[in-house]
């Protein structure tokens, strides 16, 4: 059952980050486009503002991934007459949530830096679908998809087979660090960049 669950997840992989980009791309730039930024940022503390935005994003992702999981559970029970084990559900939930958090933070950062919705949408969009280009050029460490695949195969082996053969331990540790740490790093960078935004633009 775990095998089917993870294969279903891998089929969803190209689509999932797209939704996180759509909800994030105009989160900051939209306010500049609508000319509401100057009113909002001069009346409300920026720390409060950014905290509210991050909370909104995290809650949106939790709701979105939870709904996705409920539909997956229902679909699996109808199609395969089977129940996905709790371990697989939790592992998959954390991995998918982190994946979407990365693209949210990436798009959010670009939205803050450029104040342009088009850039905040297009750059992560191309990064999702063309980051395998880095793998083809032997620059796999620049591809988040590479870390995703390494981390997914590691957790898949652990949760399905209960054992895992690690060929390159330092690479696995680095992949884990990048997969879970990069969204946090991007949020921190974005936090400081957000404070520097010139609201008179």
């Amino acid at each position: 059952m775990g095998q089917i669950f993870f294969s279903q997840l891998s089929q969803l992989m190209p689509v999932l980050p797209l939704i996180s980009i759509i909800i994030t791309a105009d989160l900051v730039s939209g306010e500049f486009y609508n000319r509401t930024a100057i009113v909002l940022y001069s009346n409300i503390n920026r720390n409060t503002f950014i905290r509210a935005k991050i909370e909104f994003l995290v809650v949106s992702l939790v709701i979105y991934v939870s709904l996705l999981w409920i539909s997956l559970i229902i679909a699996t029970s109808i199609l395969f007459h089977a129940v996905i084990s709790f371990n697989h559900l939790i592992t998959g939930y954390v991995l998918v949530f982190t994946l979407m958090l990365f693209y949210v933070s990436f798009s959010f950062l670009l939205s803050s830096l450029t104040q342009n919705t088009f850039v905040a949408f297009l750059v992560p969009f191309f990064y999702i679908y063309f980051s395998d280009f880095f793998i083809a050029l032997d620059m796999e460490l620049l591809s988040y998809n590479y870390y995703r695949d390494t981390v997914f195969s590691f957790f898949k082996d652990i949760s399905i087979h209960s054992n895992c053969t690690i060929n390159d331990f330092p690479l696995l540790v680095f992949s884990l660090f990048m997969y879970f740490g990069l969204p946090i790093i991007l949020f921190i960078v974005m936090y400081f960049e957000f404070k520097k935004i010139d609201i008179r633009v």
């Binding site: 050029l137 032997d138 620059m139 460490l141 620049l142």
Partner: protein, 169 residues
């Protein structure tokens, strides 16, 4: 008079230094193909090991420990071009070849292919043969792709920085 370094200058410096380091510092690499049981090959077939050498790699060395259980083998080390010609042209160019191996072979050879490419080690039997092998490939290489990628970022950001400076002068 000291001046605080700007964020843009820091990015240019960071990417320039990183790219120069990646382009100039050689990194050693070792790939080990462990013995994975006994291989059995029959005449007309062959067994093959493939590995890829990156561009700007030097001091390539192959350490092979081949033990023949029974039979008779020939061993060829060839590049991608020779491998594609191999079936049609019997006079293909090899980096190393040894024929009629009937016992244990411990081999350590150094070679220097002119360009980056995949290399093949062919084990071709002249009679029913069985063998196992341990293979170690070592080489020194430069992370050229990363280096040029970071250099291009430094040049783009630096170019923009210079353009703005000149424009505002």
């Amino acid at each position: 008079m000291s001046r605080k370094i700007t964020q843009q200058e820091f990015i240019i410096l960071f990417f320039s230094i990183t790219s120069i380091a990646l382009l100039l510092i050689p990194f050693p690499k070792t790939i080990i193909y462990s013995a994975e049981g006994i291989s059995i090959v029959t005449p007309g077939n062959y067994s093959r090991d493939e590995f890829i050498l990156p561009w700007r790699s030097y001091d390539q060395q192959i350490d092979l420990n081949l033990t023949l259980v029974y039979g008779n083998l020939s061993l060829f080390i060839i590049d991608r071009e020779a491998f594609s010609k191999w079936h049609q042209d019997p006079d293909f160019q090899t980096y190393y070849q040894i024929e009629n191996i009937t016992d244990t072979l411990i081999l350590s050879i150094q070679f220097n292919p002119p360009i980056a490419q995949s290399m093949h080690i062919l084990y071709i039997p002249s009679e029913d043969s069985s063998f196992y092998r341990e293979l170690k490939i070592t080489y020194t290489f430069f992370h050229s792709n990363y280096g040029f990628f970071f250099l291009s970022i430094a040049l783009i950001v630096g170019g923009r920085y210079g353009y703005v400076k000149i424009k505002n002068r």
